[in-house]
Every structure is written in structure tokens, then in C-alpha cells.
């Protein structure tokens, strides 16, 4: 990215450096003024006093409200992903079926749940659960809503991953006499799963953020909702939401970095040795080309007339 960006402007000379410095100073001063203004507003509304922030030093605040909330968030997110993965795999494979009567319903299900807000799904799941089991379960509503949505999203990820496996793999598998189900389970899926792992991990970020939807209408006491109860107890709404935001940012940045790490790991694991061989093959090919070019030159024709004739068939 940085290489691409540097294409957009020259390496700064003396004048450009001066302009950059001036812009930096003006922008920096603007940021400082903004920070000062924010802090002064916070101070004038008594948000920076010790009593607003000291509840975070009390163990009770964490053990009663914040950590159970965090646990509820992570629990719902983890369970949703664990269920959504096989659901997504099934839907994704069904969408690539040779039979229209499997392919079409799967496609409709995937597109339907992808185009509906998760809150709506959670509300429906809440009512459905209540109707079937005669008991309110916000947790089940959140998990069902997240599974329906993310299962459909992961179905597309699975489909893309399977389609990305080179065609030769399928052809070779059929050629050695494997059946359709064997080609999918032994050959295509294992390769697809490694290539789509980064996408699945980054979907985790979406799931963790979406658990917060459960706190709005179906009343699941995840981190945000637990935090608001803590805040009304200690009378520190702004500090609590600030701490919760930081918690979310840390979790999601870690997940994001995990996704990048997995991607890099997989690329080196799969591509490393292959790339070396390819690079070697390429240089050989280049050398061969150069030889051909040399042979094509009129001057070298007298040296190796036979080869020259072989390459130049023009009369």
C-alpha cells in the first residue's frame, strides 16, 4: 500500500518538505485544539472527576457487571460461529449442487437471510422460541439470529473458497475414480478451508460486534447492556461506555491481527516451496527465451543454422 501511495506524490524536495511541515503543524495544532476542547467540555460537565473513574478500580464492578457482560458477548459470539460454520458449509455446498431442487432453495435461503437486518432475525427468533418452548430466552434469540445471518454469509465464503480451488484438482480427482461426494470431502473442502480461514476469522469481528444488537430489543445482557446497568449503578455513563468501547476495540484488533497472521502463515506454508520452484522455472524459461532470441538474430544464424531453421519456418 505504501508503495502504491508513494506513486501519488514525488519524494518531497525542500519546498514540498516545507509545505508538509506547515500542513503537519497546522493539522497537529487543530488536533490539539480539538483534544483540548473535548477535555474542557468533559471537565466542565464533571466527567473527569475521580469518582466517575474510580469504580473501575473496584473489583466488584468488574465481577458483577463488566466481566459477566464480556463473557456473555464472547459466549454468544463463539457459539454462533461454531454453529454457523457447518450451516454455512452445508448451504454453500448445496448452492453448488448439480441438482436444481437443492441449488435453488439453498440460494433463496442464503439471499433471504443476507438481506434482512440481524435485529429483525433476533426479534423473530425470540418470539419463535417463546412460541415453541413457552420460555423467553434472549441468549437463544441472539444465537439463532447470528447463526442465520452468518451462516448465509459463510455459505458465500465457502462457495468462493471451493470455486477458488484450481479446476485440475476436481478433474484429477474424478479421473482416479472418486465419486462426487468424495471429490468434495477429500479433495475440495480441505483445500478450500485453508484458503478461506482468514475470511472466517475476520467474520468473527462482525459476529462479536453484532452480539451488541441483542442488547437493544431482545434484552440479552451482553457487554454494552451490562455496562449500562453498571453505569446507572455508579452514575458514570461516559466512563463506562468509554471502557467498553476500548474493550471492544482491543478484542476486535486482536481478531483482525489474527486474521492477517493466519493469512500470512497460510501463504508461506502453501506458497513458499512452490514459489521457489516457480521462480527457478521462470528463470530457466527466461534463459531459454533469451537463447531463442539470440538464435533468431541474423548474425547467429551462421553459427547454428539447423536450430535457426527449426524456429524460423518462414520461407
Amino acid at each position: 500500500m505504501s508503495e502504491q501511495a508513494s506513486v501519488l506524490y514525488d519524494i518531497p524536495g525542500p519546498r514540498a518538505r516545507r509545505v508538509n511541515l506547515i500542513v503537519s503543524i497546522v493539522f497537529g495544532l487543530g488536533l490539539l485544539a480539538l483534544a483540548w476542547w473535548v477535555l474542557s467540555v468533559l471537565a466542565s460537565k464533571n466527567q473527569l472527576t475521580a469518582e466517575k473513574w474510580s469504580p473501575f478500580l473496584q473489583a466488584q464492578n468488574w465481577t458483577t457487571y463488566l466481566l459477566p457482560g464480556l463473557w456473555a458477548t464472547l459466549e454468544a459470539a463463539a457459539l454462533s460461529v461454531v454453529i454457523a460454520l457447518p450451516v454455512g458449509a452445508l448451504l454453500g455446498i448445496a448452492r453448488m449442487s448439480d441438482h436444481g431442487w437443492i441449488r435453488w432453495p439453498a440460494g433463496i435461503v442464503v439471499e433471504f437471510f443476507r438481506s434482512i437486518p440481524v435485529i429483525i432475525l433476533m426479534l423473530f427468533a425470540f418470539e419463535l422460541w417463546f412460541f415453541v418452548f413457552d420460555a423467553a430466552s434472549p441468549f437463544a434469540a441472539v444465537v439463532i439470529g447470528l447463526v442465520l445471518y452468518n451462516g448465509s454469509v459463510l455459505a458465500e465464503v465457502f462457495r468462493a473458497g471451493i470455486l477458488a480451488v484450481p479446476n485440475g484438482q476436481t478433474e484429477a480427482a474424478f479421473a482416479i475414480g472418486l465419486r462426487k461426494s468424495q471429490v468434495m470431502t477429500i479433495v475440495l473442502l480441505p483445500q478450500a478451508i485453508t484458503s478461506m480461514l482468514p475470511a472466517v476469522v475476520s467474520q468473527l469481528v462482525v459476529v462479536v460486534k453484532d452480539t451488541a444488537l441483542g442488547g437493544i430489543l431482545v434484552g440479552y445482557s451482553e457487554l454494552r447492556r451490562a455496562g449500562s446497568i453498571s453505569a446507572s449503578n455508579y452514575g458514570n455513563l461516559l466512563p463506562t461506555y468509554f471502557v467498553i468501547a476500548v474493550m471492544y476495540i482491543v478484542i476486535n484488533l486482536l481478531l483482525g491481527n489474527l486474521s492477517t497472521w493466519v493469512e500470512r502463515k497460510l501463504r508461506t506454508r502453501r506458497g513458499g516451496p512452490v514459489l521457489e520452484i516457480e521462480a527457478g522455472a521462470q528463470t530457466d524459461l527466461m534463459a531459454a527465451r533469451q537463447e531463442i532470441l539470440v538464435l533468431d538474430e541474423p548474425g547467429s544464424a551462421s553459427v547454428m543454422p539447423q536450430t535457426e531453421r527449426g524456429f524460423d519456418s518462414r520461407p
Binding site: L8, K45, I216
Partner: protein
């Protein structure tokens, strides 16, 4: 299945979806402008601006939208006193609250969605061939001109389809505004389910159909727009 609630004057289904459309419309315009500005800042020659834009994007993107919207209302407006609507004395405060909450929600959606617009536009900038920017620099254009006249127009044409997905996600995300009492589709569904709990399947079908009617054409329109806008190379 009983759809009688559709003709009940207590429930304004069309009005709720009109509110969803309005939320989406104003948020989309604001998020597009802010997102493009953030993308330009992320690739600009001033390191401080690059760092600032990158930091903002990485922070905002990782906070749940629910938390942002609720903070807009409870923290920014109620505790810090941000007023986005005029409150007239002697008038029913409901109108003021509705306008205030609507504008707070739009502001929250703009802040959240602009980070996704920024990432989409930035990936579009990467698709513009380096020769374009080099040629622009060679004829003596400044950075603002290079990015504004040459690079961004091509970058945005390349990311029409991803921007369409961002718009669809925004349409669905407007349901979060129900958390601060904006009377859009999700809040209506909540009310309907509470009052007509025996018809919850019919309610779900109506609300789901409404969102499909909103998001399906968006996807189709942006798909064909993307084909027409794509830069032939």
C-alpha cells in the same frame, strides 16, 4: 396467516419504512463524503494526517454500531449537551425529540459507515494504474489535483459494486436506530410483536419483505452501475 394489522391505523408500516429510507439516504450521502475525505487523508503525503485517518478508521470500525448510536444519544447529547434540533418553548417536546434522535442517529451512521467507505475507496485507489498518477505528476499537478482530478474519479468508478454492498449494509444497520427510539422498521416490528404476539410470523414476513424490497433493487442497480462505470483498460 392474519395480516389484518396492515390496515390498522395504529401501525404505520409505510411510514416506518419511509423513516428507514430517510435514515439511509442522509447517512449514505454524509458517509460517502466523509469516507472519501478519510481515504484521501490516508494516502496523503503528510504523515500526521495519514496516521490520524488510519487511527480513526481502525478505532471506529471496531466499535459495535449499537454502542456508537447509544453513545450519540446518551453520552454526546444527554451528558455533553449536543443539540441538533431547536426546542421551542410551549410546544410538545416529542417533535423536538424525534428530530434530535433522527439527526443523532444519522450522525452516528455517518461516522460508522464512513470508515467502510474509506476502506472501499482506498482499495479502489490501489486498482488505479501507477502510470495514471505518474503522468499526472509529470504534467505538474499538485497532490490535491492528482488525487482529486485523476486518481479518485477512477478509484470510485472501480469500487461502485463494493460501495453498493456498503449501502445495503447501511440500510440494514439503520435498524439500530431503534435503540434510541427512532420510529423505523425494527421499532415498529417490536411494537407489533408486543401487541399482536399471536401474528409474529406474519409481522416478520411483512418486515422482512420490506427490507428485501429495499435491498434487492439496490444490489441490482449498483451491479449494473458498476458494469457501466468500470474503467475499460
Amino acid at each position: 396467516m392474519d395480516f389484518s394489522f396492515l390496515s390498522d391505523p395504529r401501525y404505520n408500516v409505510i411510514g416506518a419504512f419511509w423513516m428507514t429510507v430517510q435514515l439511509t439516504f442522509w447517512s449514505a450521502i454524509g458517509a460517502f463524503i466523509l469516507g472519501v475525505v478519510l481515504a484521501a487523508m490516508r494516502v496523503c503525503p503528510v504523515p500526521l494526517m495519514r496516521g490520524f485517518a488510519g487511527g480513526v478508521v481502525n478505532i471506529v470500525r471496531n466499535i459495535p454500531l449499537t454502542l456508537i448510536i447509544i453513545m450519540m444519544s446518551q453520552v454526546i447529547a444527554n451528558q455533553l449537551g449536543l443539540k441538533l434540533a431547536v426546542r421551542e418553548a410551549g410546544v410538545n417536546p416529542q417533535g423536538y425529540l424525534d428530530t434530535q434522535n433522527f439527526r443523532l442517529a444519522v450522525l452516528g451512521f455517518i461516522i460508522y459507515t464512513s470508515t467502510f467507505v474509506c476502506e472501499a475507496v482506498r482499495s479502489g485507489i490501489n486498482t488505479v494504474p501507477p502510470g495514471q498518477a505518474e503522468a499526472a505528476r509529470a504534467i505538474g499537478l499538485t497532490f490535491i489535483q492528482v488525487i482529486g482530478i485523476v486518481v479518485l474519479p477512477q478509484a470510485i468508478r472501480a469500487v461502485v459494486a463494493p460501495l453498493g454492498s456498503v449501502l445495503i449494509a447501511l440500510t440494514k444497520n439503520t435498524t439500530v436506530a431503534s435503540a434510541i427510539g427512532v420510529s423505523e422498521a425494527a421499532l415498529l416490528m417490536n411494537t407489533l410483536i408486543e401487541n399482536e404476539s399471536d401474528k409474529f410470523t406474519a409481522v416478520f414476513i411483512v418486515i422482512a419483505a420490506g427490507f428485501i424490497v429495499l435491498t434487492l433493487p439496490t444490489g441490482l442497480i449498483f451491479g449494473s452501475l458498476a458494469k457501466r462505470a468500470s474503467v475499460k483498460r
